[in-house]
Point group: C2
Chain length 217, copies 2
DNA sequence: TAGATTGTTAATCGATTAACAATC
DNA sequence: TAGATTGTTAATCGATTAACAATC
């Protein structure tokens, strides 16, 4: 496996989508695809697709194209979907529960081993076989079970204390659904943010722009 | 208001984060900030901040910097946070419920007017004062109420029929949580995607890369 | 072999950063 | 006025696209 750090983040962010598309092609029994054909289906350029795939080595065959099941498997391998990174969830509200399903889905690359919430009323409840524990057990749980990744679905106000504790307890990466800026507070820690509010505001801006435009015409 | 279509999407995607930061500065009673100071707090360059703000006009004052409450208000205005785009939610599972809270939050720019689900067992239940309706009422509801935006929190398999119906019924934009490619199926319709699975897979890739690296050292 | 399509380098495009004159 | 900081243009950097030789 060659050095990965020189692959640009924009390429990496496209990998999951390639993976999904190839999966659906595979499920439809399509065995062979050219970059041109795939580009048309995905709304990309053939050039970009070839460029992207080549970051990881020559998966194709001149004059033929790409073998779908093979390429699908390779990208899955690159994404490490078979790994089971030990993961804990902080916050078992609606969002936490929704996110649990994503972590549990086959080949996510992660394995949920613990769920925590500060609301005593729901502690003891089971989500997919895992009990919700009171947040006060979080530190000891980490010492005993050494989770690597934390998924944070709690209000931003609670985030500073929780992330301090988690980083101290050895957590290496976060899937962060709060607006608290973990990367700023803990340089060197890997963070993937999902900012739902930002996404909605962006849509609002674009919607109002395009609706204004329509009226003008 | 000048033409908006020439502002790059990367600038637009940064606006909500600016808005959030300025809000917290404002709440902390900070009245004045320079691009340099804001850059340090946000992990950006001062140059980029000035460049970004200038897309929308001169908000600052030479020798002084930016007035926080004023800038906050301007960006809110640009984002149209006071608009109430009529919005419906399709799919009232955990994700749908979580997302409802985001739409309801003050100044989201959207107003939720209807919730639909195909699961008859939960129809009639209220979420924040709005009843869950059976999906079979969707078409008539759209005719009567003319929603502009749809939030889709349903499985990809159900998406084709639902989006066909919605686009037909006059929906202009989507906040899409499924993996169905609305933009590909309905060219010209505005779509903001939130691909949770893709986000998790990206984190998995990056986590495995950086963990490998650590072992090597 | 001829046709098709990749792998890969070079050209283009766009976004970020640097620099500095304008000015508060 | 002098110091500070913006607004704005030019330079740099990186990502996307185009082109084509290699080759199946």
């Amino acid at each position: 496996m060659t050095a990965r750090e020189d692959i640009s983040i924009s390429v990496i962010k496209r990998l999951p989508r390639y993976y999904r598309f190839l999966q659906s092609l595979k499920e439809n029994g399509i065995v062979r695809i050219s970059s041109k054909e795939l580009a048309a289906r995905m709304g990309l350029t053939a050039s970009q697709i070839r460029h992207d795939f080549n970051c990881f080595g020559g998966f194709g065959q001149q004059g033929y194209g790409y073998n779908v099941p093979e390429l699908h498997a390779k990208i899955g391998e690159i994404l490490c979907i078979d790994k089971e990174i030990k993961t804990i969830l902080i916050g078992a509200g609606n969002l936490g529960k929704a996110v649990t399903n994503k972590i549990f889905s086959k080949n996510s690359g992660f394995k949920l081993i613990g769920i925590f919430d500060k609301n005593e009323a729901i502690c003891g409840n089971m989500i997919r076989g895992i009990p919700i524990r009171n947040i006060s057990y979080l530190e000891n749980f980490c010492i005993d079970n050494e989770p690597v990744c934390a998924v944070t679905c709690i209000p931003s106000n609670d985030m500073r204390d929780v992330t301090d504790l988690l980083v101290n307890a050895g957590i290496k990466c976060f899937w962060n659904f709060s607006n608290f800026d973990i990367a700023m507070a803990h340089p060197g820690i890997l963070v993937e943010n999902v900012h739902l509010t930002d996404s909605l505001l962006t849509l609002g801006y674009l919607a109002n722009s395009s609706l204004d435009l329509e009226e003008d015409e």
